[in-house]
């Protein structure tokens, strides 16, 4: 369990953050630029002092102002990947990595070889930081932080200073870390796409406050998200299971709830988990089983809630067999179809976006990451 409850005042800005989340897993701190995400991360790392509060990781208390506990950053065993990498310019890559490794406290769980393998650092070892690309620099910074054997890894917008191509180059490495190491991570971002690909839990922040928290699927339906990412980006994130490939169309059959979606995707083995986003604007609601339609992806379920989205439209939440989805319809449609909780309904899916593979937070360190 990773629990944070801290307050800090900086001029007129007030940070008031509290959340409690199971570990391991990736917590995305998500909010607009300037909402206090970086301040919060610095408080967690101990680089900024909180006015009051408590930070604990499992039964290890890092900060407790009431009990006058305030571990300095060097004793917190928190790895920190900064937005600007902050590699030591006078040291080669190998020495940068060594710097974290030599000062590691507590039990070691990743070796230099493992980290180099996971992050593909082998070819970079003899270079100096100024000879690296932005993406390579971030990979080295991540490796350096990991080798200090931290019990928590903070990543403060590690991709924000990279262009789109570099970002696409580094993201897969972060997914690998998430899937292969059991280290809890806090991932700060103002880019919802990154959150969708990496997060297991989401903490929403707005003007210094944590306003909502929960699992990614649950948070994708949270009404507070809309004001941050915009109405068009709102939509349920659902975890689906690959059933196989449809031989006639070549599309992948994915089970979602008690229905099935056909998705254009690189083939994955049956049983693999896929994370899928169904944007609210891409769903059409029907109150009778649809027939004679070109749309092939149809999810059946029950309306669970109808909430007003803006002056003209409503958001209709549906349960499709233990999984929640959300569709945007006009208020006129709500009236004419008499949409209300309890009504059986069908959601016609115009488009499905794949958001990487889904995963279960590993319960223990996998063999691949254990020191030989």
């Amino acid at each position: 369990m990773f629990s944070v409850a801290v307050t800090k005042r900086r001029g007129s800005f007030v940070l008031d953050a509290r959340f409690e989340l199971p570990t391991p897993g990736v917590v995305a701190l998500f909010g607009r630029s300037g909402c206090g995400k970086s301040t919060l991360v610095n408080v967690i790392a101990g680089l900024l002092d909180a006015d009051a509060g408590r930070v604990a990781l499992g039964d290890r208390v890092l900060l407790d102002t009431e009990r006058r506990i305030n571990l300095p950053p060097e004793s917190r065993r928190i790895g920190y990947v900064f937005q600007d990498a902050r590699l030591f310019p006078h040291l080669r890559v190998a020495a940068n990595l060594e710097y974290g490794k030599r000062r590691a406290q507590g039990p070691g769980y990743v070796s230099l070889d493992t980290v180099c393998g996971l992050l593909d650092l082998g070819a970079l070892m003899d270079r100096r930081p100024h000879q690296l690309s932005g993406g390579e620099r971030q990979r080295v910074a991540i490796g350096r932080a990991l080798l200090s054997q931290p019990s928590l890894l903070l990543l403060d917008e590690p991709l924000a200073s990279l262009d789109a191509a570099r970002r696409a180059e580094v993201l897969p490495y972060l997914e690998i870390l998430r899937d292969q190491l059991a280290i809890p991570m806090v991932y700060v971002s103002h880019d919802f796409d990154e959150v969708l690909r990496l997060a297991t839990y989401v903490v929403l922040m707005e003007s210094g406050k944590t306003i909502a928290r929960g699992g990614l699927g649950e948070m994708s339906l949270n009404p507070d998200l809309r004001s941050i990412i915009g109405a068009d980006a709102v939509g349920a994130i659902v975890d689906g299971t690959v059933l196989g490939t449809d031989p006639s169309s070549g599309l992948m059959r994915v089970r979602v709830g008690h229905s099935e979606l056909r998705v254009q995707a690189a083939s994955a083995a049956a049983g693999a988990k896929l994370r899928v986003q169904l944007l609210a604007r891409d769903l059409i609601i029907a109150t009778q089983a649809p027939q004679h339609l070109s749309v092939r992806n149809i999810l059946s379920g029950v309306v669970t809630a109808v909430t007003s989205d803006d002056a003209d439209s409503d958001l209709v939440a549906m349960d499709i067999g233990g999984t929640q989805i959300m569709a945007r319809v006009t208020k006129a449609a709500t009236r004419e179809l008499a949409l209300q909780p309890g009504l059986p309904a069908w959601a016609l899916v115009k488009a499905v976006s794949l958001r990487g593979h889904s995963f279960a937070a590993p319960a223990a360190i996998s063999n691949a990451s254990r020191d030989a």
């Binding site: 680089l47 065993r77 790895g79 900064f82 000062r103 590691a104 200090s148």
Partner: protein, 230 residues
């Protein structure tokens, strides 16, 4: 060095020896002081800063006189040094080194501070999150990154020490082979009837020495910059 006369060689090597001692004396004090003045906020910081800079604005003769009062044979520190360590400063090259160290100290601290201000504190924070304590951080991150400033400071102070006149002649007098450095030898030559030629030669030696120092420091700064990728 057959084109130099024995007395010129004596003055030159004495100057180098005094300047080297002077830099070695001030370095261990200047580095922590530069760090404290740049990175720490404490009561009396401004006063300390002003005190460090005093030699720049005081007449060198007055600095020499103050040194005489404090470090002289009957001065509080001078008498103590002689009694405990048997160190004599007055009329010795160590005394000359002390006088030049005091005079060039502000230049040294200044160069270090400029370079320290350019050291990204984010790197020290990064080192902290990797488990490096205060001394560790200073030794492995801050000091190596401020090294250009330390070297620039040392070279500047060395060059200034070669040229120091007023404080030296007041504190340790003008003794051939012990305290008569290049500028003092030059002054002595000028005071001697028919010493014009000797003075010109000494002036030329000082000129070449100073120029080489500047070129050397520039070459070094460039190398370090390339190493750090600036």
């Amino acid at each position: 060095m057959m084109w130099l006369s024995p007395s010129e060689i004596e003055a030159l090597s004495l100057s180098l020896s005094v300047a080297t001692r002077s830099v070695l004396m001030s370095l261990p004090l200047a580095i922590p002081l530069a760090w404290a003045l740049t990175r720490r906020r404490f009561v009396g910081r401004t006063l300390l800063d002003a005190f460090v800079h005093l030699p720049l604005v005081l007449p060198p003769v007055m600095v020499g006189y103050l040194l005489l009062l404090v470090f002289g044979a009957r001065g509080p520190v001078g008498a103590w040094l002689e009694r405990i360590f048997g160190v004599e400063l007055i009329f010795t090259r160590n005394g000359a080194a002390l006088a030049t160290a005091v005079m060039s100290f502000p230049l040294m601290v200044r160069a270090m501070r400029i370079s320290l201000e350019n050291v990204d504190r984010g790197l020290e924070e990064a080192a902290r999150t990797l488990g490096a304590g205060a001394m560790d951080r200073f030794a492995t991150i801050t000091l190596p990154l401020m090294l250009p400033g330390v070297l620039a400071g040392a070279i500047t102070a060395f060059s200034a020490a070669l040229g120091e006149f007023g404080a030296v002649i007041t504190f340790v007098s003008n003794i051939p082979g012990e305290t008569r450095t290049l500028p003092l030898a030059l002054y002595t030559a000028l005071q001697t009837p028919g010493g014009d030629a000797a003075a010109a030669r000494l002036a030329l030696i000082s000129f070449v020495l100073g120029l080489s120092g500047l070129l050397l420091s520039e070459w070094f700064a460039r190398r370090v910059r390339r190493l750090l990728g600036h």
